[in-house]
């Protein structure tokens, strides 16, 4: 610790930080623009100037930029010094010479860092009397609006987009007072993290275009702490609503999970909540008169009581809902609503994490890995946020080395980047096809899943001879495995990444063997295994049977009624099987949020709340239990699935859920009865938690129009809904200070109206939230344990004539079931085509766009192909989950129909 004198008062601060970080962490309001806690300092905006004094005798001092100066013990600075105050106001005055002052019609207004900093510096009187500069705006695609006239040239956008996120199509152009931040021409911003520009930009240049469709000021929205449901990363989000419509998703800081940033699927994939395709009403086939909860429950209960019942859970439903279903139908009758291959992969993953010796990494641990091996995983499409973390990781090692050598702190972002140039920490990516993370890799290989696992096991063998040697490796494979093993052994904090992406258990096992071998040799290694959906891990932990056996049970007449929880079975099994299953079930009861093919076949449809209308717990791929909270109470019968199921059980006379009424009851019951979930009751405060007898307000203190907004329907104000499930209130009444970190509905602090107010919620800026980052890790490996290596001996991938090994391919925009309801996401979905090696296509006489006819599991399919020169021979990929792509339980061999040549 160092002693820093600020305006003559001594403060204990951390050495190594810069003065700006130190001042902000101490709670001082020091304005800034170009600095960002995740992106460091560049000294461009000159807004954070303070006076620095040589010693106690020095009365003149000199202005320094606090973001560019390291904390030094006994240093003396002044924030209040008149020259410093004047200079900071002067910076705003300059920035304002060209700013359009269009706050009233600007989407940023009310949550604008520029507004906040302007007020903070005290600049208010305009002395610039000349014309303003103007720019032409660009159409940047479906996600972001562009309004360049508002730009204050802090360079944050390009520093985030290019430097931090690796984007290539946004840049600073031009010079002097006419620098332009945009693309070389109009067009969609390509980078998968582009939406963060809306938060990184301190003013209204880049704003959320989806919010613009139904714009509401920050202060007029009801906000709730929520979780992204787009994949299994578990990114923390803030979900915001007005008039019963979800309006915006923004990033909710969690230093352990997503930091400041989320991907574009997470930010823009929310529009299904407001979609026309939503299931909002109760639907009973043949009985249109049943519209209310009670009659529905009576009808459904009668059918459930008729015979045996079977429940199909869901990896996209909360722990509580899956638990409620399992209770209702009984453990023996609870099935996982996932494809069988996926079931096996996720269960294997869970077993490896639980029984192995290596723990999963948190976000900071990924970012500090010093050697990385990726086996089989196309990360930008299966765990997008991880790619952003890896991008930071590969720079970290070289950056730290240079920082020490040059004696320049790491937060000197431009200097460190400049010194690093193209250097990066070792990252080896071995995938079936070219992937985004190749940009970060020191070496990429493209191999079939079989061969990836062989290389993985061979690396593990090179690290630890206890892993069986892999036979028949090519010379090149032998060379690379030896090199990769040596590099991993040289590292201090190696990270091994694999997962469901390649659809191969062997690949996952080989990754585990590498990690365990490294652990055995004393390395502080981490193992990250992706799983597909937001609660895939939770569902696997809960246990249940394979979907296949559910289909069997019905086929053999062992079940009469099927209750399907938040699931479209046509995405989980092949169409003929699902058709048969649904036909043979006497009654199909579906609880879900959006209409889909299964809903069309269901006899009873029960409207389930989306993440915006429900509370629940999810377990991320990391094994972290986290809670999401309802944002608003929807009109009509929509409610949480777990609540429906509890009521259904009651109506059936099934007493197993009688004692569970509110969310806390479920959480406690799960924690009590399922040891694997012990601790989930502590991840967030219970519903009776109060601060000074108050609940935490979901609506900001400035929420307006509350007595008027429904006056066209009813003059008097409706009684606001109460929330018995959480410590949050649905209104502006309640606590407005800083609540426990798991229940922060929005970031807002006096003088800090924008998202930058996160500073005030952290122990130190950029660090964890005040009472720790939310969530609790449930899966930790045992320490004493020595692993039993899988050490499988797979044969090299065989190329079979007239056959193709087809593996699933995922798309950040397109694969996920709900996010494609956002038009912007849908518009970025890739083509529904099979990709194969160009040489294979040539050998069949096919070209890009031609139709490939084939058989799989006895079914005939016909799909367009596209070719890629870098694909391994004998293998193809199918983008599953996309519109127009039939479900196939991949990977598997497909038999090609002979091509008729004209």
């Amino acid at each position: 610790m160092a002693t820093l004198f600020i305006d003559n008062a001594p403060y204990q601060v951390k050495e190594g930080k810069n003065l700006l970080e130190a001042c902000l962490s101490l709670g001082f309001d020091l304005p800034y623009f170009c600095w960002h806690p995740a992106m460091g300092s560049v000294g461009a905006c000159r807004q954070c100037a303070v006076k620095s004094f040589r010693d106690e005798e020095d009365t003149r001092g000199k202005l320094v930029m606090s973001c560019m100066e390291p904390v030094r013990d006994q240093a003396r600075i002044s924030i209040q010094d008149a020259e410093a105050v004047g200079f900071r106001a002067g910076i705003i005055e300059w920035l304002m010479t060209n700013h359009p002052h269009d706050c009233a019609v600007c989407d940023e207004g009310g949550s604008c860092h520029l507004q906040d900093m302007t007020v903070m510096t005290g600049h208010n009187y305009r002395r610039f009397r000349f014309n303003k500069r103007t720019y032409r705006n660009q159409d940047l695609g479906p996600f972001l609006n562009h309004e360049m006239n508002r730009c204050i040239h802090c360079y944050r956008c390009v520093r985030f987009y290019k430097d931090y996120a690796g984007g290539k199509d946004l840049d600073a152009m031009g010079a002097h007072n006419h620098v332009y931040f945009g693309r070389s021409e109009d067009g969609v911003l390509e980078n998968e993290f582009s939406g963060n520009l809306a938060e990184v930009c301190p003013t209204g240049v880049f704003t959320d275009k989806s919010l613009k469709q139904h714009y509401t000021r920050k202060w007029d929205m009801t906000h709730a702490p929520s979780l992204c449901q787009g994949c299994a990363m578990g990114c923390n989000i803030i979900a915001s609503e007005r008039y019963g419509e979800l309006r915006q998703i923004s990033s909710r800081f969690n230093g352990e999970v997503n930091g400041y940033f989320i991907c574009d699927r997470g930010r823009f994939g929310y529009e299904f909540v407001n979609s026309e395709d939503r299931i909002r009403e109760i639907g009973v086939k043949g009985k249109p008169e049943i519209k209310d909860r009670d009659s529905l429950l009576r009808t459904a209960a009668a059918r459930i009581r008729e015979g045996s019942v079977l429940g199909i859970g869901s990896p996209r439903a909360s722990l509580e809902s899956n638990f409620a279903l399992r209770k209702l139908v009984g453990e023996d009758n609870f099935y996982h609503g996932v494809a069988d291959t996926e079931f096996d992969l996720v269960n294997l993953t869970l077993r490896i994490l639980k029984e192995g010796t290596v723990r999963t990494p948190t976000l900071p641990e990924i970012e500090s890995a010093d050697a990385i091996l990726i086996l089989g995983e196309d990360l930008i499409n299966t765990a997008p946020r991880m790619v952003l973390a890896l991008r930071q990781a590969v720079r970290r090692g070289p950056g730290e080395a240079l920082s020490a050598r040059m004696n320049v702190p790491l937060w000197q972002d431009a200097a460190i980047r400049q010194a690093i140039q193209q250097d990066k920490a070792p990252l080896f990516s071995i995938t079936p096809y070219p992937v985004r993370q190749d940009e970060l890799a020191t070496k990429s290989l493209y191999e079939s899943p079989d061969d990836i696992s062989r290389i993985g096991f061979a690396i593990a063998h090179a690290i630890d001879p206890d892993v069986t040697e892999i036979k028949r490796l090519s010379d090149e494979e032998r060379m690379w495995t030896a090199h990769m093993a040596a590099v991993l052994l040289r590292a201090e904090r190696p990270l091994i990444i694999s997962g469901y992406g390649a659809g191969s258990e062997a690949v996952i096992k080989s990754a585990a063997d590498v990690a365990w071998a490294l652990k055995k040799s004393g390395k502080d290694v981490r193992l990250s295994l992706t799983v597909p959906e937001c609660n895939s891990m939770g569902l696997a932990m809960m246990g249940g049977h394979r979907l296949e056996s559910a289909l069997d049970a019905v086929a053999h007449g062992h079940a009469d009624t099927v209750i399907i929880l938040e699931n479209d079975l046509y995405r989980r099994a092949e169409k003929t099987l699902v058709d048969e299953f649904l036909q043979k079930s006497r009654h199909v009861i579906l609880l879900d949020q959006v209409y889909h093919q299964t809903a069309e076949e269901a006899d009873v449809i029960i409207p389930a709340g989306t993440f915006a209308e429900a509370d629940g717990t999810l377990i991320s791929g990391e094994g972290r239990a986290q809670r999401f909270y309802q944002v608003f109470v929807p009109d009509g019968p929509v409610q949480e699935s777990w609540r429906w199921l509890q009521q259904l059980a009651e109506a059936c006379g099934n007493r197993t859920l009688s004692h569970l009424r509110i969310l806390d009851d479920f959480v406690l019951e799960i924690a009590k009865t399922c040891p694997q979930f012990e601790g989930i009751e502590h991840i967030a405060p219970p519903s009776d938690f109060r601060i000074g007898a108050q609940k935490i307000a979901r609506q900001p203190h400035r929420y307006s129009g509350r007595t008027a907004k429904e006056a066209h329907i009813q003059v008097s104000e409706r009684k606001p809904p109460s929330d018995e499930d959480s410590p949050l209130s649905f209104t502006m009444e309640g606590y407005h200070g800083i609540p426990p970190s798991a229940v922060v509905p929005f970031f807002w602090a006096p003088g800090w109206n924008s998202i930058q107010s996160i500073n005030k919620y952290q122990i130190e800026v950029g660090g964890p939230l005040h009472d720790g980052d939310p969530g609790r890790r449930l899966i930790e490996p045992g320490d004493a344990h020595t692993p039993v290596f899988f050490a499988e001996q797979a044969a090299p991938f065989p190329i079979r004539p007239d056959c193709l090994y087809l593996i699933p391919q995922y798309a950040i925009f397109g694969t996920e079931e709900f996010s494609v309801h956002s038009p912007g996401i849908a518009s970025r979905s890739p083509a529904a085509a099979i990709t194969v090696a160009r040489a294979d296509a040539d050998s069949w006489g096919l070209r890009d766009g031609d139709l490939l006819e084939f058989q799989f599991n006895g079914q005939e399919y016909k799909l367009a192909i596209q070719t890629n020169q870098q694909y391994p021979r004998g293998m193809g990929t199918l983008p599953i989950g996309l519109k127009g792509v039939p479900f196939m339980d991949l990977p598997g061999w497909i038999r090609l129909k002979p091509v008729e040549r004209s």
Binding site: A44, R46, V64, H153, Y155, H176, N177, Q418
Partner: protein, 426 residues
Amino acid sequence: MKPLTGHIKADGTPLTLAEYEQLGGYQALRKALRMSPQEVTTEVKNSNLKGRGGAGFNTGMKWSFVPMDDPSAEKYLICNADEMEPGTFKDRWLLEGNPHQLLEGMLIAAYAIQASEGYVFLRYAYKTAAKGIRVALAEAERAGYLGSNILGSGFSLRMHLHTGVGRYMCGEETALLNSLEGKRATPRAKPPFPQVSGLFGKPTIVNNVETFSCVPHIISNGAAWFQSLSKNPQDGGTKIYGVSGKVNRPGAWELPMGITLRELIEEHAGGMRSGYRFRGALPGGASTDFLVEEHLDVPMDYGSVAAAGSRLGTGTVVVLDDRTCPVGFVHNLEHFFAQESCGWCTPCREGLPWTEKILRALENGEGRENDLDLLAMHAQALGPGKTFCALAPGAMEPLQSALNYFRKDFEQHIHEKKCPYGHTLH
């Protein structure tokens, strides 16, 4: 003694390699290659050669900051030939007239820091110089002065000519490095200094054309000789001074460091043209403070000019006469600087255009009472340490000194609602 320019031909055409060699060219390189790199640096340091680009930092000292512990480490040597300061045209003379002298100086410097790659970063408009340098590079390579194992010494250097696209900013050495890397010409934070992390993150020395051109002579004749050329032992060597403005013989001359401003203007530039009176001068190019009549006897060396409240800068004097409007004069400069701001930091990007607009308004008779306060505010707030690099502080030097020495002119513009010299701007 005119070691730098004495051999330049009257018609200005470049000395060929043969001509240069005949005059003793590349002997200094042969001598340097027999010395240790450390000895070369020490000799240059002892000569008190100070950077001729304007900053006036001891050249040998600069070289000594390059880490020499790892002999295999890549290093770069760069000649800053992006001469774009308004009123400055000294380097052009050397570039066009004697390119081999520059190359030899660079070779010796590269040897001193053991650089393996050299670049001449040349102003795009210097087409004649570009042609001459290209020829000289080819000649030097053919003769074995450039390339691998130079003159059998084991030392190798490849040298390239890079022509800029015309940004004044590239004269700032770190912006030059960014530009050379293909990035935007914005300055870099220091530390790290280029000597430690420069071009492509490698140790790099950037020196001015005139600086490099001095080096062969220092090596040939010794540090003491070089110091003796100057009137002031603190600042070694000769200096190329220039004068522009309404003088009888505008031009550039190589003279002993430290002659007075009066000698320069009255003897070498032939005094003021008839009908024009001297009012003031920027002693070292556009980004230096005005000196006025009372300073005419100030010796033109780094220390003396600084003591008089300005900077020697590039040593090229721009004279202001009594029939040129000082407001228009300064406006012209601020227009240039505002245009050439890279746009990286707020004060420079937004402040310079504001000063330019105020000066334009004054010149057009649209000045207001508080305009001079605003100009003074800018002169203060764009000062050293407040902006990211030295461009804006340099831009403020003529403005702040004009406000000081020619304040009445400024006030007259406001009160008379017109330019008393009859200027208008569009």
